[in-house]
Symmetry: C2
Subunit: 245 residues, 2 copies
DNA sequence: GGGGAGAGATGCCGC
DNA sequence: GCGGCATTTCTCCCC
């Protein structure tokens, strides 16, 4: 049985397919692209995600998201993998000039990654340790998704001013200051208060972002995201859900 | 030769390595994570990018960026892939409980993807077809990266007002309006002009973003990004550089 | 299902 | 190298 037949069988059987091949790729959908022939690694997952990787970099050079449909066709001009999704609004055609290797297999895995050091954990940490934001800061709420928007941390300072805190786990950039500014204005409008302070909490701040903070009268609090992953606890909890599909 | 030896040889030989295995992964670096044992697809590229994929989704569940170092070690407790980068600030340990398959190969590819329908092409298109932004719009410059920032399109309207246009290839969201607002204010400050109009050009606009446009007195222009990929020309040009490493 | 926002975002291009 | 920003961003969460 050649590669075409093996891949067809694996597609029908919802296996994980991996092959190396010289391929040429055209894509049309949210954008449009063309990739001239070259050696790439192609992956089709059981959820019908398609990934086409070149020999460098983290990101696939071409791809189709989960739940696409794939068909391998032989035509006079050669062998093609034709993929389609979103009722034909996304389509990808890969001409396979030559197979180098091909593997198919059943892989079983239903586990979730446990991640620590996120922005959410950072705002939780600052809620519990408000002096790290500013001496005298008294948080009222965190992750407020309902009243005034998606404010990370909300409270008042030692002088009774309302304070909006935006947390970033990385060096804060202009976008982060935009966001803080938007939330400060939301709170002003929602509460009818003229003075609302803005504090950006992050491990660092870029030059442009720092200038914006100054322009808007905001403050900066240097805070590193906490990284405390309880592997033991997470492992125990994860194993409770470790039944594979 | 078992999998461990084959992978070691392939690492030394800068080959592309693909294997399926039951693995358990811990990561520490910009964040911290733990992934309990399960079947995954592991890829190591010639540039030493490491990707760990679960059976669903486009994104790797764990990874190391290019130029990491990898070593396969046998210890009394089992076989481990230990990866490190950025002088040890990033590290990943993968315990390999069981190999399911393993492939190594030399893949040669040095070609670049040609992509059409980007924001850049959209601003070029509107520069050439300014009436699509607004009747009477007269563009002065595009992709202005030096004077006032990164304004996509800049000009004046039929009444002589300065106009800043921000292009988005997707449905415009609140972040896009933030960005437009920031650029409008930059132009105001740089030119000392009190009135500068802002126009958001995008195929669609979200409800919140539309409300923000209204609040700030900005306009919306419904424009789709152009998708005209000249495959013939790109193919010819690409083949000139098709010598593989 | 769509909107809003985070991400170990990645990648690209400019200085 | 860093900074600023687009991305076929992807993914999650919540309405």
């Amino acid at each position: 049985m050649d590669e075409v037949e093996r891949i067809r069988a694996a597609l029908a059987n919802q296996e994980t397919i991996v092959f190396g091949a010289t391929v040429e790729v055209t894509y049309q959908g949210r954008a449009q692209s063309y990739l001239a022939p070259g050696d790439r690694l192609i992956i089709i997952k059981p959820d019908r995600t398609l990934l086409i990787h070149q020999p460098t970099g983290s990101a696939p050079v071409n791809y189709m998201k989960a739940h696409a449909t794939h068909s391998l066709v032989r035509e006079p001009s050669g062998v093609y993998l034709k993929s389609s999704a979103d009722n034909g609004r996304e389509s990808l055609t890969m001409q396979i000039h030559r197979f180098h290797f091909c593997t198919t297999s059943k892989l079983a895995d239903g586990l979730k990654l446990r991640l620590a050091g996120t922005e959410r954990e950072m705002s939780d940490f600052l809620y519990a340790n408000p002096h790290l934001v500013e001496e005298g800061f008294a948080p009222l709420s965190r992750e407020e998704h309902t009243k005034v928007g998606f404010v990370d941390l909300f409270g008042h300072d030692r002088n009774g001013n309302l304070v909006v805190v935006e947390c970033k786990r990385y060096q804060a950039d202009p976008k982060a200051v935009d966001q803080l500014r938007r939330y400060v204005e939301k709170v002003k409008a929602a509460r009818g208060v003229a003075r609302v302070r803005g504090i950006l909490a992050a491990p660092d701040v870029s030059p442009k972002a720092a200038a914006m903070l100054h322009d808007y009268g905001f403050s900066f609090a240097r805070v590193k995201p906490p990284q405390r992953l309880d592997v033991g606890a997470s492992q125990a909890r994860l194993h409770e859900f470790s039944s594979s599909p």
